[in-house]
Symmetry: C2
Amino acid sequence: MIQMIKNLSKEALKEYYQELKSKYEEYKAMGLNLDMSRGKPCQEQLDLSAKILTVLNDSEDCISKDGTDCRNYGVLAGIVEAREMFAELFDVEVDETIVGGNSSLNMIYDTICRAMLFGVYGGEKPWGQQGEIKFLCPVPGYDRHFAICEAFGIKMINVPMTPTGPDMKIVKEYVESDPQIKGIWCVPKYSNPDGITYSADTVMALVDLEPAAPDFRIFWDNAYAVHYFADEDDKLVEIMAELKKRGKEDMLFMYTSTSKVSYPGAGVGAMAASKNNVQLILKQMMPQCIGPDKLNQLRHVRYFKDATGYKQYMKKHAAILRPRFETVLETLKRELGGEDIAHWIEPNGGYFVSLYVMEGCAKRVVSLLAEAGVKMTSAGATYPYGKDPSDSNIRIAPTYPTTDELHTAMDMLCLCVKMAAAEKLLEK
Amino acid sequence: MIQMIKNLSKEALKEYYQELKSKYEEYKAMGLNLDMSRGKPCQEQLDLSAKILTVLNDSEDCISKDGTDCRNYGVLAGIVEAREMFAELFDVEVDETIVGGNSSLNMIYDTICRAMLFGVYGGEKPWGQQGEIKFLCPVPGYDRHFAICEAFGIKMINVPMTPTGPDMKIVKEYVESDPQIKGIWCVPKYSNPDGITYSADTVMALVDLEPAAPDFRIFWDNAYAVHYFADEDDKLVEIMAELKKRGKEDMLFMYTSTSKVSYPGAGVGAMAASKNNVQLILKQMMPQCIGPDKLNQLRHVRYFKDATGYKQYMKKHAAILRPRFETVLETLKRELGGEDIAHWIEPNGGYFVSLYVMEGCAKRVVSLLAEAGVKMTSAGATYPYGKDPSDSNIRIAPTYPTTDELHTAMDMLCLCVKMAAAEKLLEK
């Protein structure tokens, strides 16, 4: 396309649409079965961690450095060497961490569940006994965060993302005026799906919040903390240190996991929070759990050694992911660049490329793709209640397919973006 | 002792008490540090499972029999071969199982949490929206069950255990008249702490219950399903099959784990329930979890092969545990047999011996032991709210100490039982 679609005459547009459509039918006839729907590591990435399987070889290997037999019961907060590694990654103290099972999502859900039923440190009542409570949801965002709110009947309020993080003017207005606002979802680094890292100003505005609710919490889901594939890693201000300077460290819950470092199905999740928060949470966890899988924690720490080893290891992932993201970005540029029917953000890390198609076209694009055997995340999934008010955002997850599959899927995606735009323009 | 303590004159009793006391002081001077407090496997038992660590050696080993890559995300209900093995153990169908992380306690807690917040299948409202709800607690029982009720504010009602299980006349009266009764705790085989296996009549009385509450559930915590150490295994009627005959299978939640088969800290927990229950639970779990640790499930199934291999394997545990239980029972018989200041049950399996000392003496016995360096489960812990109305039950957990330690600890225990009895009799 030399000429922009939007500038075509109706006749030319019709003709152009027919061209697109016949290409689409050709693809469709190929009976494709491609999946760009979830942020799943590909097999090549999983193979990187094969040696983690054989770190523990016999009974003597199972003793932690403080003498704990990791095969037996106990140690609710996680083994000491795992807490140390995550403390370094979170930039907090060891007793400000809890290392858990294979899923940080589970730890997030359980945190909210406890807050609903029993309350958080410093709260007068459980969240669940305070009428309708609300969470701020920077959008687009992570569908599973929104699903948790929906499960607990927590009202979600959209806050637009900007290139530097959530619109902090709006966040401040809400948080400081409404005591029913109990939380804000943050994926502060290489955000899902936009790939945006919060700027220093954004983090400072967050720590300077004076919430109307004494039991307000920032949910800092640092899922992509070490997941850059560009030449340089984005810099994220250490939020806990800034909160501590202000004596406001109880306002924060942080999470991360090794899901996209070692294995999504058999990694280690961890959280960090102030000592007050951690002590209360451990007390609340007592009836639920005797201890996490300590052998898997031990496997991970012995394998990665420490936070430095852990970060270093991610270069291997970057080498696998970089060409995949390049394919996505090059195809978008080649096929949709110059057109004003789509725009996107080039991320330096994370797991997604966030594509914005012409308003009212996202659902149509995803459904055209599905019909032709290319599975995408549902349009709208990146918004609370699955409702993208502009029906514009599409999350591209380029990690799982092979590079060949990705080329085909991206060509298809761009074709469908043009088709949907043409259809929309022809309606007028 | 030839003469029974209770028949001694006051003078003779005083003299006898002084003898006991000086023996006690000798023990105390030894500075012991023994632990008979928790049902923890000993190192010898843990060493049995060393080969489970090396079942999965490289990436190719990580594929489940239906082709699932167990390293990656997904499979909320557990991998198919793990579900098959547990289905056989539970005597249910595969789609009536959920295989989880390393803890069945966690699955029990989460079941109750979901019931409180969202309700169970067939319930009109969540349990948490029905005013004060209640659970029947056969006593003595498992302290961590009671802790869950306490955490959720569920009122606990004591039901006496008989040699054949809970007193079913009382259970029936409560369950059939009071819709606020939502559950009953059952450890149906080698019960914690009494080591009692429910008789066929007891199971039949349970399945014949016509609960006043449509959302009543039997919590069938079959923690010691395969844990016999006597020559013959106790027989337990398969409750699910009986419920199905009556079309009442929604009334049951079953749990078990490999905690005391492979590793307490790194085993696999599982639950079973009707299809209706399982489908609702999986739906409710969606926002909490993407999937359990599938690699650890795979390790376990590849290691044990199937339910038969699993049961066969327990003979190795039995060989380690039998002498320990013999030590406990022989010491009790030798030191307290013939006295009517204590009685106990001889179990064929499980993890405990339940000792009943003279009324009003259990706390004193445990505190005398603690003072001399022998840690026991708190007196009262086997009752709701930690309150043993008779202050009589003491749970002995003989698995963790070495046999030598056990000899000393048991001698000490019997000594303290006599001391406390003598003190009590001298008060009169």
